[in-house]
């Protein structure tokens, strides 16, 4: 605690007081800084909100949880059965679970909750559910309008934390702001938008998922989540004891953090990819050879080693390594190959002339390279720019804010861009390469008959998850063969904490650092 550190500077009598303060601090009280991508949430209403942060998962439990290996684990649902045709799912619910307001969690809670999604931005999550039937107090059945192999994935999302209906209905618009009721290990005590969220322990909690070691109530009694927009400020807070945990440390800070004796860093496999989409409609990238050459110019390994200091992994295709659909034919993976890149450009008619830039019909090979503001992408883009220069391609960088860059995409004013996504499901392929979403999110502007067919099969004709995996893998391989983008980097998720004060499990379960790990955190000081 900062105040403890401060008192150390004071004289003897104050030291006694400091002793008391330390005792108070031992009272399992931590503060956590959000990562920069989860700032600005204005509500803890999981149903209607479009922006939820990590604290949400502590207030609400989900029916199922997803582990780092992408497997599904029971939580409020103890087991589930999918019918053979995929047209219904039946869930057994955990017994003895209560909401923060004391009401019992049961099948009716689920039946009351699902319809709340209607007409919200999150409705797509339950779009395949036609109706919810209460079979008995602890059994609930989702009747589907179409097979949805992705249902468990959706149910594990933060947006599907289950709120207490009574409170949800009575608070209305203010639910999630002035009050929030779930079944989670912590209760919302106060929420100052843009500043901090204070949670206190739910002393009745006894229904953690098997991703947590601690199956009882949380060790921590009180958690304060803070919003700190500037990353270096957040780092300094950690250093000076103002916060105990930093969710989401930018990779450039890792080196500095490791030098701090009281700071430990946990690196979790990330759930996204940094990549460079290529606009296939904008010459010279309408020529597949130029696209392939562009991909061969990027040295993923060098990038990981230099700007990321070896943290994270190079990306050679579009999906994160832990997804089965990422295991494609190795020949299709994109690797560094400058010689082949030069040959391909020669073949495409772009010849090396006098200067450093290739020419064709008197036109230099100069292309636009867009990116978003924020250090993460701008550094990467500058290195990519230098690597493209190696094969004689001159890239001019423009840095946009996130809204403007989407507008550029939609108006087809782009050629290359450096961007990233964070999504641990193969349906991201549909999001970025479907011909229905040209411009944005389909930044590659790719509209291909065979591609769309494979997409439709994967999205709509998969009856179960095995089939879905096979279909998406086929689609992924076809996308790779068309050289629509250059995969670059798989970032890790970095969490730093004050190891003098708190203990955090070494192995973090789940897809990200969430409630399942936070209930295991202890104050050790």
């Amino acid at each position: 605690m900062r105040y403890v550190t401060k008192t150390k500077f004071l004289s003897g009598t104050a030291l006694i007081a400091a002793g008391f303060l330390s005792c108070a601090a031992m009272a399992q009280d931590v503060s956590i800084a959000f990562s920069s991508d989860e700032l600005g949430a204005t509500s803890y209403n999981p149903v209607t909100s479009s922006n939820l942060n990590s604290a949400t998962g502590l207030i609400y439990d989900r029916l199922v949880e997803q582990d780092a290996d992408q497997s599904y684990h029971p939580h409020l649902a103890t087991s589930w059965v999918e019918s053979a045709d995929g047209m219904s799912w039946t869930f057994q619910l955990k017994d003895g679970v209560t909401f923060h307001d004391g009401t019992a969690f049961n099948a009716q809670s689920v039946a009351d909750w699902i319809p709340d999604f209607a007409d919200t931005e999150n409705a797509y999550l339950v779009a395949a559910i036609a109706s919810v039937e209460v079979i008995d107090d602890l059994t609930v059945k989702f009747v589907m309008s179409r097979p949805e192999p992705n249902l468990l994935y959706n149910l594990a999302s933060s947006f599907m934390g289950i709120p207490g209906s009574a409170s949800y209905d009575s608070l209305g618009e203010d639910f999630g702001v002035t009050g929030a009721v779930g079944t989670g290990p912590f209760k919302l005590e106060s929420f100052s938008i843009g500043l901090e969220t204070v949670l206190v322990r739910n002393d009745d909690y006894a229904w953690a998922s098997d991703l947590s070691e601690n199956q009882g109530t949380a060790h921590l009694e009180r958690v304060t989540f803070r919003e700190i927009p500037d990353q270096s400020t957040a780092f300094l807070e950690l250093k000076t004891g103002g916060v105990d945990l930093l969710l989401g440390v930018p990779t450039d800070f890792l080196q500095i953090l490791k030098a701090e004796s009281n700071v430990s860093v946990i690196q979790m496999p990330g759930t996204g990819i940094h990549y460079m989409p290529i606009n296939v409609t904008a010459p010279p990238f309408d020529n597949i050879k130029v696209r392939e050459a562009t991909g061969l110019a990027v040295n993923q390994e060098a990038i990981v080693a230099s700007i990321y200091n070896g943290v994270g992994a190079p990306a050679h295709n579009f999906l994160i390594g832990s997804l089965p659909e990422a295991q494609v034919d190795p020949a299709l993976n994109v690797n560094y190959g400058p010689d082949k890149a030069k040959t391909l450009l020669d073949e495409a008619g772009w010849m090396m002339g006098e200067g450093k830039v290739r020419m064709k019909d008197g036109v230099p090979l100069t292309v636009k390279l867009f990116t978003q503001n924020g250090t993460e992408f701008t550094s990467l883009t500058q290195v990519v720019q230098a690597q493209l220069a190696e094969i004689g391609m001159e890239a001019e960088i423009t840095v946009f804010d996130s809204s403007t860059i989407r507008d550029e995409y939609k108006n087809n004013r782009h050629q290359l861009a450096v961007r990233g996504y964070d999504w641990n499901n193969s349906d991201i392929l549909d999001w970025f390469f479907s011909g229905k979403r040209l411009g944005y999110p389909n930044v590659s502007m790719w509209n291909d008959v065979e591609g769309q067919r494979l997409n439709d099969v994967a999205m709509e004709d998969s009856k179960n998850s095995d089939e879905r995996i096979a279909n998406f893998k086929a689609y992924h391989e076809y996308v790779l063969s068309q050289h629509l983008f250059v995969p670059i980097y798989q970032p890790t998720k970095n969490i730093a904490y004050n190891s003098d004060r708190v203990s955090v499990p070494k192995i973090v379960r789940g897809t990200r650092f969430r409630s399942q790990t936070i209930v295991d955190i202890k104050v050790t000081e």
Partner: protein, 294 residues
């Protein structure tokens, strides 16, 4: 608004002189002027002066501390900081100077028209001017950059717009003052056309204070450019500008502080020099009272 804004405007444009500080001041003024000349020359001859290519990356030698051959060290891409600071002078000075030039030309036109024609037109122009003047310049610039996209061009215009009010106000005050002077009244009475009077009599007489205030505003422009750079707008990589360098990841402040500290020092020294020199100009041209008149 009242004439007191004049004192405000004047106060903002320079520090008043004092009898005692006078000798010391002109000595400082010489140093400041010399520094500025040197800076401009450096900016002009950057390609011949810089020891390295400002954009050449050497990832194996990133974040190197100041020493030989990289006198001011290297940044996270292994680029030479000294070369980038020198090239940055080019960007920062030209952006700021161009912006202020635009600001002056538009501001003088508006201010002259408002001051000369008076009436409703004057009131409308001055209302707008007063409002933009009281609006935080960083917000004006941020909104403008968001509207037309980032880059040096939009940064230039953003700065130009942010300082437009100042010049409009100053020119108007000059014109209003001059209009009352006998020789202008005489010219008007002789039946000269407004355009003629403005062009040949009023503007030439009004220009000196505007130029000096403009010179001082270049310092503010450099700071605003740096602040835009802090929000990731402004110069596009790999083009160096002082602002962009100072904001190139605040993580750098701990990892390789020289990347951020040197441009910061250069900005501070430049702006101080601009102010000192501007003060000397005001004194030399003896236009303190005319600037006050705004």
């Amino acid at each position: 608004m009242t004439s007191n804004i004049g004192t405000v405007a004047r106060a903002m444009t320079g520090f008043g002189n004092s009898a005692i500080g006078s000798a010391f001041g002109s000595w400082l003024g010489k140093i400041a002027g010399g520094f500025l000349v040197l800076l401009v020359l450096t900016a002009i001859f950057a390609p011949w002066i810089t020891p390295f290519d400002y954009a050449a990356q050497n990832l194996m030698n990133s974040n190197a501390a100041p020493g030989w051959p990289h006198l001011l060290g290297t940044d996270q891409f292994g680029r030479d900081v000294l070369s980038r600071v020198i090239y940055g002078a080019r960007t920062s000075l030209s952006v700021s100077a161009t912006a202020i030039a635009i600001s002056i030309s538009v501001g003088m036109t508006l201010g002259a028209a408002a001051g000369y024609f008076g009436g409703f037109f004057e009131r409308a122009v001055m209302t707008v001017v007063d409002l933009t003047w009281s609006f935080p310049d960083i917000l004006i610039a941020l909104i403008f950059v968001a509207t037309i996209g980032p880059g040096l061009t939009s940064t230039t215009f953003a700065i130009a717009i942010a300082y437009l009010a100042q010049f409009t106000r100053l020119t108007r005050a000059q014109i209003v003052r001059l209009k009352r002077e006998t020789f202008i009244e005489a010219t008007i009475n002789l039946g000269a056309k407004p355009r003629h009077i403005l062009q040949y009599h009023l503007l030439p007489n009004a220009i000196a204070p505007v130029i000096v205030v403009g010179m001082l505003a270049i310092g503010d422009g450099i700071v605003l450019e740096a602040t835009l750079g802090f929000f990731g707008l402004g110069a596009q990589p790999p083009t160096p500008s002082w602002g962009a360098m100072m904001s190139s990841g605040t993580a750098q402040l701990f990892l390789s502080p020289w990347v951020i500290i040197f441009p910061g020092v250069v900005v501070a020294v430049t702006v101080v020099a601009v102010n000192l020199f501007g003060d000397e100009l005001i004194r030399a041209l003896n236009i303190r009272d005319r600037i006050r008149g705004a």
